[in-house]
Amino acid sequence: MEYKEGKLENVQLNIIEPPRFFEKLLVDKPGEDAPRISERICGVCPVAHHLAAVKAIEDAWNVKPPEPAVLLRKLLYAGQFIQSHALHLSVFALPDYFLRLQEKNLIGLYKRDPKLVKVAIALQEYGANLKEAIGGRAIHPVAAIPGGMSKPLTVATKRRLLKNYEEIFKNTIKLADIYFEIFSKRETFVKGFPPTKTFYLAITRNGNFETYDGPVKVVNSNGEVEFEFQPEEYLSYIAEKTVKHSYVKYPFLKKFGYPNGLYRVGPLARFNVAETISTPKAREYWLKLQETFGKPIHHPLIYNLARVVELIHAVELSKELLLNDKITSGRIRREATPKEGSGVGIVEAPRGTLIHHYVTDKDGIITRANLIVATCQNVPTIEYGIRVMAEELKPAILRGKTKEAQWKFEVLVRAYDPCISCATHLVEIRVK
């Protein structure tokens, strides 16, 4: 951001992450390789790409996985949500809320409260163990294949995974309570970040919170439903604009154009779009969130509380799935036939709605790929929020208090949990 002669001149969110051109890289590759290639987009939430890709190819080749395979995928995905959310809530975001912390990072937090960090690490370990057991590898799993899954879950592995469940669950609630307590004590701080009114987009099924599959719903800033569409219709509703100053593209809702059609995805959007969440403890905290902050909620920092609710849900869901008799079934794969087609796969990634679209030729080789990844969809709103805050913080910045301002901008960005939160030189303030 640039201030010139007392005025805010320019705000740019420069995403300098090197483009890796996956949309082009996937072209000419066999469709069945898409789940293993595209997951290299993100090492923090590979399962989201793994599943969006496999669903898209299944859609293109018209093959449906058997029910036990879908259950295994949902369990794999629960592991992903647990690991990603636990990692974000502890390593990335939590240090921000201990305001007197000298070093506002994991190491500072660890020095102050080693027990808390241990709890978070144990949670993320449980998530990683689920991923490894179902997907074959804790990072970049291999098991989802067009038509189903490549290996069944054994009863012995299932028992091992359930072994420490009670402690895992207890720790989840502990972490949740820490967050809810901090947020109730620091209401002024939380509400000090500009509430941006946008549309919200998420998949949902019959009003329920959903991550693996379902139609996409969009609500406006009053919480009213604008439209609902099926995955294969996404191009009629979403478009992307490219900008000169960033390597990410700026998605928006076609109906409203840019920038009126700015929308957000991720935990806050899922909370605003869905009516309820299926598991009991998560529902309790969902209602608590609703009672405290109303609905829809626009405050960006509440992303973290919505994330806490989702973490509880994923932990509860993992148990529910592990106790399902069909989870150890051997009927997990149908043979897929590579052929000509076009398919769309949409999932809710930990960071928001993720869209994969592939077109294949008669041999099932990819001829076109289009990906709209979770983080990109929040970037235009993050930039807008930074602009609003840059105006609000102007007096302080012009008085030379840039360091504190810089940290506040970073807290705002981190609330969204983008894959870019860690980029060096995140905030540069120029005063002329």
Partner: protein, 288 residues
Amino acid sequence: MKRIVTIGLAGDAGCHVALVNLHKKFLKLLRSVKILHSYILVDEKEIPNEIDLALIEGAVRTSHNEAVVKEVREKSKCVIAFGSCACFGGIASLCNILDLNDLLDYVYQHTDSTVEGVIPFENLPKVQEKVRPISDIVKVDYMIPGCPPIPEEIATIVQAILLGLKPELPRKNVCDECKKKRLGITPKVIKRVTSKPDAKQCLLEQGYLCLGPATRAGCKAPCPNYNMPCEGCRGPLETVPDQGLAMLDALSALTEKFAHEYSPTVHLGTFHRYTFASSFLAKMLRSR
């Protein structure tokens, strides 16, 4: 206390997540070293001086990546290429077969949902013509390959270096660690993984393109164990100069028919998925 930095270039942070996946051992590591600057763990912006050990994840894709690698090298006693992107260029280097302008043009102007706009240029580091492993830019002291590397291996190598020892990578290939049965038969047809393999028998013998023979061991063969072919993410052994060509050569010797089925565009990602930037094949194509 040893001074450590961890860096993220063109990659996906998976190597850093692998580090966190040491779980309790990760916390132990945090107590025994000083992490001064890190891609995800510490929000210190500047790269400090007098670094004992630098872990660099990701390949070099932009001018910014190149500047960072050079700065880290200058300030560090020991530089580790952390993960297959840093070691060999990684998966993003499959794009090296294409022209940069075509890549930018397709991704920023011609995907199905892109409706308007420009190819980004303002206040951004320049995208370079090709993806390069960090060893193309600076001297690398050690490699920890893998997409991502195995957490235990990271811990062992880092600890050994901190103690002044010279760690070595496994000298076997993935087949040596694979539990599937080999009958010594030759594949008659090449199969795609859309068909279901026999879970007990060697995938390659059944005709699936498994890169186990050309790939460095150390992972305990999780992919074949899950009935999916090894895609070679740990790269080749030192004795094998080009992982993909070695595999192709072996296959052609086994089945004459495959030589006719090989398609450079379709199979580039099969044989050189993680190593194209550092392969002989890339060099040959460049010099043409």
